[in-house]
């Protein structure tokens, strides 16, 4: 089986490609090749031993779908791909739109539908949660600078200012909000999400939905160490039925298809869990799932290949991940291969 995975950017703001490959390699009964699809010649996953057997540069989704499809076609001719697992938020719309064309040439995907992507899009989450009895912070969708002036009518500072795909800033006053707004506008465009800031501890759940309303598995985690970019650098699996229940509700209601990460905050004031975000792909800490007894990435592979997968029933709490920095050494000759020929 030949599986292509994106998101090999295991940087300080990591994509989940590397841990995904690691998980699939450890899947019981798995045999096959894992191929990296990369956007940059310096994605660390390219240079890691025993991760991707081969890497190919692909064009950014923002350069157009046809180009992406043509590039995948070239790679497919060489590698005979069975499955592509896109791992980055900004790719998902593109791949969702391409899935029929990919399937026509024999490449499977296991993606959320466009409607599901829209529900989880940061701007629609609020309505979805409200109508399903899930706590969620208040939101304003800013489409122009003008909308910033409606902040005081809606909530108090500090507020969270978030890009539609990535990036979030905490702003303590209007000026800070404005700075964050401008940064996000340039980088990700509109809309920009202005969100009520809820003080409390962060909790995350990695989960997998089968597209029919079943939660195939889920593992909750609490971040133990957070970097200045808000990324978990260490975390521990939890025994937390409330988080499991909310996650299950979301997957059932939306009939979620694909891997996902749910981000929660437990309000220091009320002790209630608020759903902050649904990320429509596995998180960068997904390797914690197989380590705790649920190989969710491999389960996704099996679902994609049309197998019946029994839901996981338990996992081990108290399993810790600690991320580390590790310098990989390579030479300019190796870099040349990928920079010049787009393959490594």
């Amino acid at each position: 089986m030949n599986i292509a995975v994106t998101g090999l950017n295991a940087t300080d703001n990591p994509g989940p490609g590397v841990p995904l490959i690691r998980s699939i390699r450890e899947g019981e009964g798995f045999s096959g090749n894992l191929i990296g699809l990369i956007y940059d010649s310096l994605e660390p996953g390219i240079y890691m031993k025993d991760i991707a057997s081969k890497c190919y540069l692909i064009p950014y989704p923002s350069s157009g779908l046809e180009q992406l499809y043509q590039r995948i076609l070239q790679i497919h001719e060489k590698e005979k791909l069975d499955l592509i697992i896109p791992c980055l938020d900004s790719e998902l719309y593109g791949f969702a739109k391409l899935q029929d064309r990919l399937s026509a040439i024999g490449i499977k995907t296991f993606l959320p539908t466009i409607d599901q992507l829209n529900i989880r899009a940061k701007d629609n989450l609020f309505d979805f949660c409200k109508s399903n009895g899930i706590n969620v912070p208040k939101n304003i969708l800013a489409n122009s600078l003008q909308d910033m002036y409606s902040i005081p009518n809606n909530f108090n500072y500090p507020i969270a200012v978030k890009g539609i795909f990535y990036d979030a800033y905490i702003a303590n006053n209007f000026e800070e909000a404005l700075t964050a707004f401008n940064k996000l506008r340039v980088k990700w465009g509109y809309p920009i999400i202005l969100q009520e800031f809820i003080r409390g501890d962060e909790f995350n759940v990695v989960a997998l939905g089968d597209g029919k309303g079943n939660m195939v598995g889920a593992v909750p985690m609490r971040k133990l160490y957070i970097t200045d970019k808000g990324k978990g650098w260490a975390g521990v699996t939890l025994d937390n039925p409330i988080l499991m229940e909310i996650s299950k509700k979301v997957i059932e209601k939306v009939k979620w298809r694909s891997g996902m990460e749910l981000e929660f905050i437990k309000s220091a004031e009320t002790g209630e869990y608020y759903l902050l975000e649904i990320n429509p792909r596995f998180p960068a800490w997904v390797y914690l799932a197989p380590s705790a007894g649920q190989n969710l990435p491999y389960a996704l592979v099996r679902l994609a290949m049309g197998e019946d997968v029994e839901p996981f029933t338990n996992y081990t709490s108290g399993i810790i991940f600690v991320r580390s920095s590790w310098d990989l050494i390579t030479s300019i000759k190796e870099y040349e291969k990928i920079a010049t020929f787009g393959e490594y």
Partner: protein, 84 residues
């Protein structure tokens, strides 16, 4: 045409990949770019370069000269050339 010096240790491979070890920058050149760069390295003059390009390629001296000017401007911009 003025003469130029290419900084030492700049290596260009067959694929057109150019690495400048002094700064750590790397570049990709197309076939003609590679040919011209190699000729500059071996101290060819502008006239020689134009002649050579017109000999191998279906091109007019006038347009090659114009393109060469632009190419040299770029090389200078990247500090891959300096005046001798």
């Amino acid at each position: 045409m003025t003469n130029y010096i290419v900084p030492q240790n700049v290596a260009i491979s067959d694929s057109g990949f150019l690495f400048q070890p002094a700064t750590g920058e790397s570049y990709t050149l197309n076939e003609i770019g590679k040919l011209i760069f190699k000729m500059l390295q071996s101290n060819s003059s502008g006239e020689q370069i134009i002649e050579k390009v017109c000999e191998e390629y279906d091109a007019e001296a006038k347009s090659v000269e114009r393109d060469l000017e632009d190419f040299i401007t770029q090389l200078k911009h990247y500090s891959l050339l300096k005046l001798s």
